[in-house]
């Protein structure tokens, strides 16, 4: 996410999160500067009522991770994030014993001639346990459900998916040396995927599915003016029109909302209050991240796209 979006500390803390109805959810989200439509708000509402994990899928940069952050703010609770990668295993996702510390303890006790049983009790206590995100989410949810964000699940591998399946259905973890830890309240689970590969159906079936699309022009303008309030409305509209035009093009990586916000701030920093071809060219790096794509947009004619962006909505319709 962009710096502009991640300023969690700056964000107003909503005192009470009213989720008695989808409309109330929609309103609370909006107060936290996240623009949600009815579909999203209703799905979110259902996820909390049914205590089902929420599976967010969509192109990169449409605000999937951000939604989880907003949710944590709304519930006034902790956000525990597990970033997935290939080869992620239970040691880094669940818990791990602090082996080095255990070894040292054993060595020290040896000098003091401690008895073995006592040593064993000592080294398999919480002091030597390293909590990883999944365990932490369960432990912390004891008083108040936390938001557990399992980010970019498509980057992990099948082994981890299978493992996750087990955790998400029981919400309990057994540590052989210590016993079973079970959350009294299930954490609110949000999974995100950029769809770089298909996630196994068994996992997705346990979740509420939501496809997060690129926002419509109107919605994107609203997002820009909410997130970057210092941007003049005219510039915001031009930027968003340029972006929706750009998203129809055949890019390898289409720009997301995160790119729109980055770009708006870049243009503001350059003191632009209107879009022109030169400044677009200078700041292309904000919206396109592949050299091929940059070449393609230049071939397509930035001037033409800027001209389209300048059209007022009446003319366009």
């Amino acid at each position: 996410m962009t710096p502009s979006q991640s300023g969690g500390a700056k964000r107003r803390k909503s005192l009470e999160f009213d989720f008695s109805s989808p409309e109330a959810v929609q309103e609370s989200i909006r107060q936290n500067d996240y623009i949600a439509d009815k579909t999203l708000a209703t799905t979110l509402f259902l996820a909390m009522k049914l205590e089902k994990p929420l599976f967010l899928e969509g192109e990169a940069g449409v605000g999937k991770t951000e939604l989880a952050k907003v949710l944590a703010t709304l519930l006034d609770t902790e956000l525990i994030r597990l970033q997935c990668y290939e080869g992620l295993d239970s040691n880094s996702a669940l818990y791990e014993w602090n082996y080095a510390k255990q070894l040292l303890h054993i060595k020290m006790e040896e000098g003091a001639k401690g008895n073995t049983k006592q040593i064993e009790r000592d080294i398999f206590s919480e002091e030597y346990l390293i909590e990883r995100p999944l365990l932490r989410a369960l432990v912390r949810s004891k008083e108040k459900p936390v938001v557990l964000l399992i980010d970019e699940i498509d980057r992990s591998d099948e082994e981890f998916e299978a493992f996750l399946l087990e955790i998400l259905s029981d919400f309990q973890i057994t540590i052989p040396e210590m016993g079973t830890i079970k959350a009294t309240r299930n954490p609110v689970v949000v999974l995100t995927s950029n769809r770089t590969r298909e996630i196994h159906d068994a996992l997705k079936r346990r979740c509420l599915y939501l496809w997060v699309d690129y926002p419509s022009f109107e919605k994107e303008v609203e997002i820009v003016t909410t997130k970057v309030p210092e941007a003049p409305l005219k510039l915001a509209e031009q930027i968003c029109r340029f972006m929706s035009e750009a998203r129809t093009m055949d890019f390898y990586k289409r720009p997301g909302v995160a790119e729109t916000l980055d770009w708006t701030q870049a243009l503001l920093a350059l003191h632009k209050d209107e879009l022109d071809a030169d400044s677009v060219r200078e700041t292309l790096g904000c919206i396109l991240k592949y050299q091929d794509d940059i070449k393609r947009i230049e071939e397509d004619g930035i001037e033409r796209m800027v001209a389209t962006a300048h059209l007022s909505p009446e003319v366009e319709v």
């Binding site: 082996y99 060595k107 298909e198």
Partner: protein
Amino acid sequence: MTIRPVVAGSLPHRKIRAPGHGLKGEIIGFCRVLRRAGLKITSGRIIDVFRSFEHLEVTDLDYLYVATRSNMISSYEEIALFDAVFRRYWFDEEGNPYSGDNSEAMGDIFDEDIPDGAGEEGAGGEKSEDAENQDQKEGKESSGLPTEEEDSASSEAGDAEEDEEGTPSYSPAEVLGAKDFSTFDADQIADLRRLIQKIVPKLATKISRRKKNDLRAKDIDLKKSVKRSIQTGGEVLRLFRRKRKIQKTQIILICDVSGSMDSYSQFLIQFLYSLQNEIKSLRTFVFSTKLSDATPYLRHKDVHFALERLASEVHDWSGGTQIGNCIRTFNVDYGRTIVNSRTIVLIISDGWDRGDTEILGEEMERLTKKCHRLIWLNPLLGSPGYRPIDRGMRTALPYCDDFMSAHNLDSLVSMTEHITRI
């Protein structure tokens, strides 16, 4: 999969339904229709839909839509199908909300305008309703696998229809009609199969990032060593070690079936078929002027049937070559979802390209960055005096990890040896 505009999100009608007694039945009927349409509707999902209505006003169509959709689908590809079924089930032709269980009436209108491709991986021919039902009964993944009941007559009809409207690039010169690949004799097939069984394990593995125990390895497994040391009073008597696991890879075959490859095609197609049957996860694509996914056809158990189907479905067999455009189609439509760091891509082509070599270069570069290993098999490399100097081959060569010949069984043996040495 290319990104299609999403129909979802806003329905054209926001009318409030009158609360009726039959609503529960209607919802169950709706689930039944969805299941018939090919979605995986488990009873758990249906229960969750009803649980949702404990919290939502069921008479609001918007809520009905979100509650059913979020519970019933699990991928982007299914959205269009769901939306179409939803519209057909809950609205009449004028767009007014229906009432009453019309799951029976929905039965006949399936083949009309519900978009296909939802949940289907293969870009193969249209599936008849029967085939869909069949898949479902058997609880298979609907991967476009043709069932035995589906006779080739109906698929040919579907194919002809597709030609008329679906493929602008189609020209009579592209088609040389169906070919008979079934002339391979049994001995040759047996030879080929044995060889492929030998190649496959070498081809299909890669060193994983995960580790497994191995006492001869270099890395010490601290976790296990400490754990076991407790048995001996905290004295580490034995060091446990671990090493990286060998991981399975995904293999993708992209095979040139253009005119210039004609003399090899008998052998090739046999090779593709055997490989497909050896590695279930293999994806096979064939191309000349355009790319098609041959996986569903080649998965068929009966070799002759499979080859016949393939020959009749891939209608530009033995046409011209546009490697660049085809690789591009591959990158755009499939590259994102099926190519990753575990993928080995095998391109089988002579490199004679009549298309734009600039595109070829670009797309080869993109592909080689995404996959684990890119291997180009060129049957011409077997003929004495051949140098890869034609435009296409020269462009593509720098992006290939391996460049090998594949014109007969012997060359496959040497390829195996080469891969073993890697």
